[in-house]
């Protein structure tokens, strides 16, 4: 308990110093308030947005897109990844294709998405789906291929069917790689989503801060930026990192 408190203090203290420096900078008169509003103004704006509900609407819109991206793309990507990974030949050929689409994933799809789906929910969600799919697909493929063949042969010799092979060897064996891919895909997807929301829709945190820029509302922008950072840190710390650690412990192939 005492140690946890200590680590909490150590984690928070740097931010206290940072905010103090920020407050000192705004009070010194070196920068105009329109360029860098003081922390208390940002806090007030954040509080007002939280009270009138606009902050929550935008958070829900952004997180909802992330969730849709995950729920739809992750199972699809794992499915395709395992299927392709089953054939060594196909896997060798499709691996560079997958890494090409990884290199492309994210915001570069936006103009095409807007041509196909217009402005709004469709285009932005497509960006998220696309980013998650290719990263998880690639990592599943790589994960499946790293499962030592000896496990495959062992299961075959014992009379296991192809279904057994997939469910009991390939997916568990690829799990650490898959989960690492999911974590990475949320990292890339979240960034792409914020950018896409600035351009192609009128809800979400990306829209919130980009729209505020039109009116030079730097306090709203900063409140939005802080929300974006806190949301990501919370997701990563409370959900993704524990998940990754757990899968590595549970299924990681530690070869001795």
């Amino acid at each position: 308990m005492r140690r946890r408190l200590g680590s909490l203090v150590r984690g928070v203290a740097p931010f206290v110093v940072l905010v103090a420096a920020w407050a000192a900078l705004t009070r010194s008169g070196l920068v105009a308030e329109i360029f860098l509003p003081p922390p208390e103004a940002v806090a007030r704006t954040g509080w007002e947005m939280a009270r009138d509900g606009s902050l929550w609407t935008n958070i829900v819109a952004s997180l909802g897109r992330v969730l849709v991206g995950l729920v739809v793309s992750v199972p699809l990507a794992i499915g395709f990844g395992v299927l392709v990974g089953l054939s060594r030949r196909l896997a060798t050929v499709l691996e560079p294709v997958a890494s090409f689409f990884n290199a492309l994933s994210g915001i570069a799809w936006l103009p095409l998405a807007m041509t196909w789906f217009g402005l709004g929910w469709g285009s932005v969600t497509f960006i998220m789906l696309n980013t998650v799919f290719f990263l998880v697909f690639f990592n599943t493929l790589v994960g499946v291929r790293t499962v030592p063949r000896v496990f495959e042969h062992a299961l075959r010799t014992l009379g296991g069917s192809r279904r057994h092979l997939i469910v009991q060897v390939l997916i568990p064996g690829a799990m650490p790689s898959i989960v690492a891919g999911i974590r990475m895909s949320i990292g890339f997807g979240w960034r792409a989503l914020i950018a896409a929301e600035m351009i192609a829709t009128s809800t979400g945190l990306g829209f919130l801060i980009f729209n505020a820029q039109n009116f030079h509302q730097t306090d709203t922008i900063l409140a939005g930026i802080i929300t974006i950072g806190v949301l990501w840190l919370a997701t990563d710390r409370l959900l993704l990192q524990p998940l990754e650690r757990w899968t590595v412990e549970r299924w990681g192939l530690v070869s001795s």
């Binding site: 060798t92 290199a103 492309l104 994210g106 103009p111 960034r191 930026i225 950072g229 840190l233 990563d236």
Partner: protein, 255 residues
């Protein structure tokens, strides 16, 4: 699978892909701007290359990326290494760097637009910001990951602080730094494309975004292929070999 089989499979796959695409473009009841045939993409690329638009835009994006990345390395590596040298300082700086890393440069873009206006500087700063934090963070972690015993070993032999930094800490941190550079550039390249779309001053991001206004879908697709291919070339021929080489040369694999 032999090399010949690989090539053969590739040819079949590509032929199948382009065949299916052409067929779909020819038969699907959608306007041609929704799905232009491959031939349209080819002629668009010839057109853009002959007019010199594509080379100019590619050069512009690459120049921005290189400038922003070099500045980011020049700042991120020394700062990260310096912070990593002291355990207390590292513990203090880590949460802050981590926070700034997790807010992408694009999220700062609205604020940077207020600060620097719509122009070159905003793009460069946004990309620079995106690259610098992963680099600094991984340099810091790299320095911290150097086992104390090596530092102590050199110190008992009478080495100076500077000597320890040069011969132990920096080489020990290099594999981490290389990884951080690769991640930083991966984020930075995407941030560049997004920033060029939003700020709209030349470059590949601007090219595909403005093409969308005029339904020049073939041009969008061409731009996407170039964006993906440029990154792959950079990743396969520069970043991965660099990462591999540093890990092989200096990686501290502990048994």
């Amino acid at each position: 699978m032999t090399a010949r089989e690989t090539v053969l499979t590739w040819i079949l796959l590509l032929a199948g892909f382009f065949g299916a695409w052409s067929l779909a473009a020819a038969t699907l009841p959608v306007p041609s701007y929704v799905l232009p045939p491959p031939s349209a993409v080819l002629s668009a690329s010839r057109d853009l290359i002959v007019k010199g638009i594509l080379p100019t835009y590619v050069a512009e994006s690459v120049r921005r990326m290189v400038t922003a990345a070099l500045v980011a390395f020049a700042i991120g590596v020394p700062v990260g290494v310096a912070l990593g040298m002291s355990r207390r300082l590292a513990e203090f700086a880590f949460p802050i760097l981590n926070f700034f890393q997790s807010v992408s440069g694009i999220a700062w873009l609205p604020l940077m637009l207020v600060w620097f206006g719509f122009g070159e500087r905003t793009i460069l700063v946004a990309v620079n910001y995106t690259v610098v934090f992963p680099v600094a963070l991984s340099a810091l972690l790299g320095v911290r990951s150097v086992p104390r015993i090596y530092v102590n070993g050199l110190r008992t032999l009478g080495a100076s602080r500077w000597r320890i930094a040069r011969d132990v800490i920096l080489p020990g941190a290099l594999p981490n730094i290389a990884t951080g550079m690769r991640l930083g550039l991966a984020y930075g390249w995407r941030a560049l494309i997004a920033a060029e779309m939003l700020v709209g001053a030349h470059g590949l991001g601007f090219m595909i975004f403005s093409a969308q206004n005029f339904h020049l879908t073939a041009r969008i697709m061409l731009g996407m292929v170039v964006i993906g291919a440029l990154w792959l070339v950079l990743d396969y021929f520069v970043l991965r070999p660099l990462e591999q080489a540093t890990i092989e040369r200096w990686g501290l694999i502990q048994r």
